[in-house]
């Protein structure tokens, strides 16, 4: 029977209300990288500890993906009928900038917009399982994260 699975269990604590992205912090120089690297790209050090990333941040830069990514490997809607342009952004989470899709109207995304990490269904894999990935969702002005 088809199931629901996370796209890569090593990159987040999904499932759960308070799911978080997982990065790696270098024990030597404290630089944070997502996903957790084998060795630190900043200092070459080999000791990296897992760290939960802040769930809220701001858009540092963005673009709009105008055409369907090649599928496979893309698991989202990729046919001319189902594809809709979507925004992709680097989101400044304080310790690190993480790249991810931004939900909602791509034409409304702006630099410095506040966003939070969410875990929506991206699409289906070959076996018919729903595949959950991470994305960012705009935080409405006046709402409380």
């Amino acid at each position: 029977m088809p199931d629901t699975r996370f796209i890569d269990p090593s990159i987040a604590t999904w499932p759960g209300e308070a799911a978080r992205l997982l990065g790696g912090r270098c024990d030597g120089c404290a630089v944070v990288t997502f996903p957790a690297p084998k060795g630190c790209p900043a200092c070459g050090g080999g000791d990296v500890s897992q760290v939960e990333l802040d769930p809220v941040g701001t858009v540092w830069t963005y673009t709009v993906q105008g055409f369907p990514p090649p599928a496979p490997p893309y698991l989202g809607p990729a046919s001319p009928d189902t594809f809709r342009p979507f925004a992709v952004a680097y989101v400044d989470l304080g310790s690190v900038l993480v790249e991810g899709p931004v939900l909602g109207d791509p034409s409304s995304v702006r630099i410095d917009d506040p966003v939070r990490v969410v875990f929506p269904v991206l699409g289906q894999d070959q076996d018919g399982n729903d595949v959950v990935a991470f994305a960012f969702e705009p935080i409405e002005e006046g709402s409380h994260a």
Binding site: V31, V64, P70, Y74, V88, G94, V96
Partner: protein, 382 residues
């Protein structure tokens, strides 16, 4: 303290574009033979050869077409910097070994469509491609969007850069795209990666370029040398913004282009204000704009006024990509960097015809940049 001056004595090009029935290697041989003829020497005169292609096989296979002379021939595989790295190594070989003549060659023949990449081969996780983020076009859009925000570059400037490329291509018989396109058409073409449209992006293509280099005292009689003052390569540092990065450091570092350009100017003993003509990496319109500042040709943000006032046109105060750049020539990766140097040599010789920079240009800069974060720059002088 250079012991020997190195000069470029011959240039050869096989036109860029699409060439049914002609392999990348065969285009490389045509370019090599043209460069040898231009230098007034023959293949058996060559003491050392460096070259490469990304998709068209080993460059040293050229010996089976050019002749089996015993020449030491080193294949270089540095992506977009293949030509620049080959030239750097040949430059060093001539100076270190006191040998006379070297050949540098780059060629390629890519299939139509975007360059595709396998995440595993690049050390990236599968989810990165599955989630729709493994597209080079997104990187270009995002690096540019931040730059426009920080330094006030407009979409008008993006369209102007592309329109200039096609106008210059029209005046370049070796270019692929030789029809002018209006700024309105460019802006209204399909949006690939906002703010970049289809006509603001270069496409994979075919072509070949070769250079004959010599120690100055060994330049063939009758050749028309220009001086290769420097060839410098730099790779990325931690904190730069590169393609295919699931995350970026919270602290930023200057691009490898900054160090390659500074190094090339310093080695050449030339100040940036002396540059008369520049060929810089224009994978898309915004790259030309950002690279103008990264190479030091102007300050961040000054591009808008320079471009809109026409300064980067062939007859402007700072001509950039006079042969139409990657936008009009397409990008055969192994050949693209050497195409820039070919154009700079043609300009310094005064042979550029309709696209000749006026006023006898004497100092020229070239700059390439590509994955995984490498840049190569050269300075040549008349």
């Amino acid at each position: 303290m250079p012991e020997s001056e190195v000069v470029i004595v011959g240039v050869g090009i096989h036109p860029f574009g699409r060439h049914e029935g002609l392999s990348g290697l065969e285009q490389g041989a045509i370019a090599a033979q043209a460069a040898l003829a231009d230098a007034g020497c023959a293949w058996p005169d060559i003491d050392v050869a460096y070259g490469g292609s990304v998709a068209s096989g080993a460059a040293d296979s050229l010996v089976s077409i050019l002749g089996l002379t015993g020449v030491p021939f080193v294949n270089v595989a540095n992506g977009c910097a293949t030509g620049g790295s080959s030239l750097m190594a040949a430059f060093d070989a001539l100076r270190s070994r006191q040998c006379d003549l070297g050949l540098v060659v780059g060629f390629d023949k890519h299939p139509r469509g975007a360059f595709n990449a396998d995440p595993a081969l690049l050390g990236l996780p599968d989810w990165y491609a599955e989630a729709g983020m493994m597209l080079t076009t997104q990187f270009f859009g995002m690096k540019l969007r931040r730059y426009m925000h920080d330094f006030g570059i407009t979409e008008d400037a993006l369209a102007r850069v592309a329109a200039k490329a096609f106008r210059n291509g029209e005046r370049n018989p070796n270019a692929w795209r030789r029809k002018p396109i209006t700024e309105e058409e460019i802006r209204n073409s399909f949006v690939i990666a906002d703010p970049l449209t289809q006509y603001m992006f270069c496409a994979p293509a075919e072509g070949a370029v070769a250079l004959v280099v010599a120690r100055a005292e060994s330049a063939p009689a009758g050749s028309r040398p220009v001086t290769l003052r420097s060839a410098v390569l730099a790779s990325r540092r931690h904190g730069t913004f590169e393609v295919f990065s699931p995350s970026l450091s919270s602290t930023r570092a200057p691009s490898p282009s900054v160090f390659a350009a500074q190094g090339a100017l310093e080695m050449a003993g030339v100040s940036v204000s002396e540059i008369d003509v520049a060929q810089i990496q224009d994978t898309e319109s915004g790259a030309e704009i950002m690279h103008m500042a990264e190479t030091g040709l102007c300050a961040d943000g000054d591009q808008e006024a320079l471009i809109m006032s026409g300064a980067t046109e062939v007859d402007g105060s700072l001509p950039v990509n006079t042969d139409g750049g990657c936008l009009a020539n397409g990008e055969p990766i192994g050949a693209s960097g050497l195409r820039q140097i070919h154009e700079n040599v043609v300009q310094l010789r005064g042979d550029a015809g309709e696209r000749q920079v006026p006023g006898e240009p004497r100092v020229a800069l070239s700059h390439v940049y590509g994955a995984p974060g490498i840049s190569a720059c050269t300075v040549i002088t008349a």
